[in-house]
Amino acid sequence: MGVKVSLGVSLGAVLAIVAVALVGGGVASLQPVFGIIVPYAAFVIFLVGFVYRVVDWGRSPVPYRIPTTCGQQKSLPWIKHDKIENPSSTLGVIGRMILEVFAFRSLFRHTKAEMASGNIVYGASKWIWLGALVFHYSFLVIAVRHLRLFLEPVPFLINGLDLVDGMFQIGAPTLYLTDLLLIGALSYLLARRLIVPKMRYISLANDYFPLFLILGIGISGVLMRFFIRVDIVSVKELTMGLATLHPVMPEGIGAIFFVHVALVSTLFAYFPFSKLMHAGGVFLSPGRNLSNTSRAKMHVNPWEYPVKIHPYEEYENEFREKMKNAGIPVERE
């Protein structure tokens, strides 16, 4: 099962979803299924699945305090302690986690190592950091922006975000910067997996699938905004129906909308069963979220049990004569 199969299956799955939604969304009697039932079901799967996965992680304890220390430990008072990279307090851990979650601190460290005439040369390599950061933030802004379809009246902040995102005022409806950035970043992340041999080697179908899926969401959204227009007021009627738990199915919403919704629903439903759970996992990863204080404070392992340590008596019994001859003190002569 090489790259081609992984790629084919991932892309094929996304295209199949598109096809089903196109057909189903075009049939009026099926529209409530694609517009109401599927989104609700996917959302419930997402919430329940996410919580289940996190709780399942929580059911295993963290027996030992073993964070990765990427900076100077807290030791003698005159040695400068790296409070963030090697935290010794909750505050430091929070700082480390904030950097990790909001700025992708560890990924920022990324360098590439290559062989050049018999030497390993290291180069700064921030593209993956930038690509990942741009992708995540664009996706966040896009998601938040969509709240305009789920809130009435639309809060000032959401409108403001919309204005900032469309600040170049290119075209009408205005082009969102995040749309460009999202699709650009996703294309980079996908191209990287396909072009870099190491990445191709480690990539699985479940790496390609979410990329294609989110790319599909982005492209269908852009198509709907700029090319295959739908009536946004009818769309909001539907989305507000969902958000107020009084679902309605307005007439005349184009099939492209159902494609978009089907892809988003797939993402929601797929999320808890996939690597996308890193969104929750990053908070729970003991490699980063613990302070390095196990010498200063005792960390308790709930399942710790006593073990047999070779007793000194046995040791002395075995070596007593030799110890006495060597002048080593013994307990019993």
Partner: protein, 268 residues
């Protein structure tokens, strides 16, 4: 509304991005495509970039002596500014002007006729955008908000103006003004010309040779206000009114040495 390539590029906003990144880069990637796309488009009119013998080149003549008659200058300026909702901030620093009055020395600064007749030196000169044939402002605009229409009018697309003011630096005639404040603050709402928009804060504006009036077959507002002093017509047509006037009268143009080829002629 068929969607051709140029429209596609425009709608997705890419044309502006290419504009910012340099059309050259696009040319390198796909030589000829851009030109072909632009040339392919349109309503029979050649693309503005194309140097070709145009059928129309709008121009204006200003009879300086007739302008000195009382009230003429004021009437022209008022006609222009009220029809275009040009704000009056009341000071020169933030002044927004499409049409204004200046003296001989300022108007022809640098290439005054050495021994110009005294009475000419004392005359008021009406100044406006010269709608140059080789407009320097068009060259510097990074978003193509300023462009030269096939009929010679140097027009502005305020939607595209990003307020960088490169055009103001490039214009040798000071014909452009920047809106430091919201122009509506300096306009009387009751006196709005409802048929013409205002501008917004942060954009540059200037005389548009009344394109909106020309489209309706009307003369520019200033010409209508002082037909005895101003004339407007097609410089490309040898039999037009302006060409006939220019054949008879001697004229001056501002800063000819710069090679921008102004389309406004001062009759002295």
């Amino acid at each position: 509304m068929s969607m051709n390539r140029r429209e596609f590029i425009k709608i997705t906003g890419l044309s502006t991005l290419f504009g910012l990144a340099g059309k050259g880069a696009f040319e390198l990637l796909r030589p000829g495509v851009l030109d072909a796309a632009e040339h392919g488009h349109g309503h029979g009119a050649p693309a503005p970039e194309e140097p070709a013998e145009a059928a129309i080149r709008w121009g204006m003549t200003i009879d300086v002596e007739k302008c000195s008659e009382p009230g003429v200058v004021e009437r022209c300026i008022k006609a222009c500014h009220s029809v275009h909702n040009v704000p009056d901030f009341g000071d020169t620093k933030n002044q927004v002007k499409w049409l204004w009055e200046d003296d001989y020395e300022h108007t022809f600064a640098g290439n005054e006729n050495e021994f110009m007749a005294d009475h000419v030196k004392a005359l008021p000169f009406l100044c406006l955008c010269n709608h140059c044939d080789e407009p320097p402002c068009v060259r510097v605009c990074p978003t193509k908000a300023t462009f030269r229409r096939p009929d010679g009018i140097v027009a502005m697309d305020y939607h595209r103006c990003i307020g960088c003011r490169f055009c103001m630096a490039a214009c040798p005639y000071g014909s452009r003004s920047f809106n430091w404040f919201d122009p509506r603050d300096a306009l009387n709402q009751k006196e709005y010309n409802m048929e013409f928009p205002t501008r917004m804060r942060g954009v540059v504006e200037k005389c548009n040779f009344c394109v909106e009036r020309l489209a309706k077959g009307q003369m520019p507002a200033c010409v209508e206000a002082a037909p005895q002093a101003l004339a407007f017509g097609n410089l490309a047509d040898p039999d037009s009114n302006v060409r006939q006037i220019l054949r008879k009268r001697s004229s001056m143009r501002r800063k000819l040495e710069l090679g921008s080829k102004p389309s406004v002629f001062y009759l002295v």
